[in-house]
Symmetry: C2
Subunit: 394 residues, 2 copies
């Protein structure tokens, strides 16, 4: 199948380009290297060195025996995207070309506006380009479990049947996001659902949990095929930051009570899920939602796991909770469904510790790169719009 990946230079996008080629697909990609710039703006870099795109493309051809057709440009530029689609004629698009960080979107009004403009308008442009050049093309859109927030009821996959004052309907499950970034994904969700309803487009909207891991087998341990691993306060998730902290001897810093629950899955499982979505498109006009994660942990449990694996690497890992810079519920019900991908054949790895060991092996080789940017791991972007370093709580 011809699959176009937007954001192909990013953490998931680059991995997916390799994974799909190894599984018999033809891949093209779009990027403008934004992720490298954002992380640079945060005073940080990927812990694992990544090659420049020109080198990536050469190695890709050598290792995978096919070209990755690469288009450099901005996804909000309609004419650029139109031309890329006309040139490649994708049968599926995996839309990974959005700014993915909640704290980055909360820095100030400029970052808030930029995030929502980039994310929402990029996807809106893609909807028009698909309609105009490839109406049967399947849009695999990446949302986030964070769109739902933490309601006091179970979370279904996108839709639910309601019985209200004696009448029934199947409706979108209400969204309650917790950052301008998460809201941008909610806006996407509404726009994409409408395009399917009105234009007969087909889309899979993936509400993704937190993805972690440094590699997939298909990278063959080739440094030029490696994908990035971020640990700064914006682009490193809690699990990434914990691993980076452990490796350089800093205490792990859960925010607040540490009782926040989230869904997680390893990078290799994320690849498996995205491939399943691509290879099993919905029917024309169908907008379907997959909740994509494997296991739910509290942030405290996560820290314990990381500490435990760290001890296998002779690291003495402490846990020191830190003031929560975010506005979020710390103790809440959390029981989201995640059946749709299992129905398609998803086989979870179910082994966080093995995965974390692999992360530790990779990170210890690059300890110096983390050491040299360790200030970036500490949060100072606060949800109230101010900028002040969080203190340790104990």
């Amino acid at each position: 199948m011809r699959v176009l990946i937007t954001g192909v230079d990013g953490y998931l996008g680059w991995s997916l380009s390799i994974y799909l080629a190894k599984h018999g697909h033809q891949v093209a990609g779009i990027d403008n290297y934004s992720r490298r710039k954002w992380v640079g703006e945060m005073g940080c870099q990927s812990a694992i060195p990544i090659a420049r795109m020109d080198e990536r493309l050469i190695t890709y051809r050598q290792s995978l025996g096919q070209n990755l057709r690469f288009f450099k440009g901005d996804l909000t530029d309609y004419n650029f995207v139109l031309n890329a689609f006309k040139a490649f004629r994708p049968e599926a698009v995996v839309y990974l070309g959005e700014m993915p960080s909640a704290p980055y979107s909360m820095i100030d009004v400029h970052h808030a506006v930029w995030t929502q403009t980039n994310n929402v308008m990029g996807t809106l442009v893609a909807l028009y380009v698909i309609k105009e050049t490839a109406p049967d093309c399947h849009l695999v859109k990446l949302g986030t479990m964070g769109e739902y927030g933490t309601p006091n009821v179970d979370i279904p996959e996108g839709f639910f049947e309601i019985d209200y004052r004696g009448r029934k309907d199947r409706m979108m499950f209400p969204r309650k996001a917790g950052s301008w970034y998460h809201q941008s994904k909610v806006h996407d969700t509404h726009n994409v659902e409408m395009a399917c309803r009105m234009w007969g487009m087909r889309s899979t909207d993936i509400m993704q949990g937190v993805v972690y891991g440094t590699r997939i087998d298909e990278m063959d341990d080739n440094p030029s095929l490696a994908t990035r691993f971020d640990f700064d306060q914006c682009f490193g998730t809690a699990i990434n930051r914990f691993c980076a902290q452990a490796v350089i001897g800093l205490p792990l810093t859960p925010y607040g009570s540490g009782k926040q629950k989230r869904g997680f899955l390893p990078l290799r499982d994320s690849m498996q899920c995205l491939r399943l979505a691509v290879e099993n498109p919905p029917t024309a006009g169908e907008y379907r939602v997959f909740n994509q994660f494997e296991e739910v942990y509290t942030v405290d449990e996560l820290a314990d796991r990381v500490a435990k694996v760290g001890s296998k690497f002779d690291l003495d890992v402490a846990v020191r909770p830190m003031e929560n810079p975010r506005f979020e519920e710390e103790e809440h019900h959390y029981n989201p469904d995640h059946q749709h991908l299992l129905d398609l054949g998803y086989q979870p790895t179910h082994d966080m510790e093995t995965e974390l060991e692999s992360v530790f092996r990779d990170l210890t080789r690059h300890r110096g790169r983390i050491e040299s940017r360790k200030e970036a791991v500490f949060p100072d972007i606060r949800w109230d719009g101010s900028r002040r370093q969080s203190e340790y709580l104990s």
Copy 2:
């Protein structure tokens, strides 16, 4: 109270600036004359002549004995908005500064992107400016009943209690909008709700029905205080287009079956409701939703009312249904709540015929202005993105 009206040069904004001054408030306004440009882009003009802003401001002062403090600029320009807020220090903002037309947003990708950027980012900028300069300021945000779409269940005012798999929560009622414009309002709704939840802001989000009418008593029949009346396919609502058609002897053209139901209210009632919202602010952190309309009619019933009133003006009014250029449900359940404004003291006029008579009196005086632009009333913007004039169905 010091009230800032964004979009003060528009249909509702201008009327409200007069109404609030007559009721003892100090008013400032922001605009960049976008509405005049959009209607010009559609090859049309207001049926009722409206004065330029400089003339409006002079007459305002003469008639109302106070200045309307006017700031000309773009609501997505943070520094401009910030300075206007610092200068005027509003206690309430009535946000009417959005592009209000569904068909205009459906013209093509550029209009879609522009609409969502202008509307959503303008409101997002306002949220930041309020937080930074006037955190107690009450944001009266204008949404639309169209945010809800036409679900098969009753529509509450913004929120509903759900009982799902044995657990309960109070959640936002799901939105299902039918154009990029309506989606922009849904996006606003989500952004504003989050600002209240996180930043302790206060907002009233008004899901407004279709407003009609040419005047309010407070305009004192002064031509320089008149507000606009649009009848083109984008900025004229069904009721406006019907009145314009009747006045120049064209048949009224309901789209499709004509069985679509909507909520309506006269301009003078809309003013009353907005004033009630302004004068009764919510508490800090409260995000409240008012469904604002008076009576529900089908489009056919609307046409019949207009025809009936037309006959009192010796007009022979025919009704000829036209192909529906929109994608919408034509036969549907529709029973939205609208109690919150009544609880605040809203006293509906409940008299569409009297209101329509006043519209006919005003429009017959300007028949020539409608005649000279009559092509603009016929729809050719289609929801599938194409452009083709709708045919009569009989």
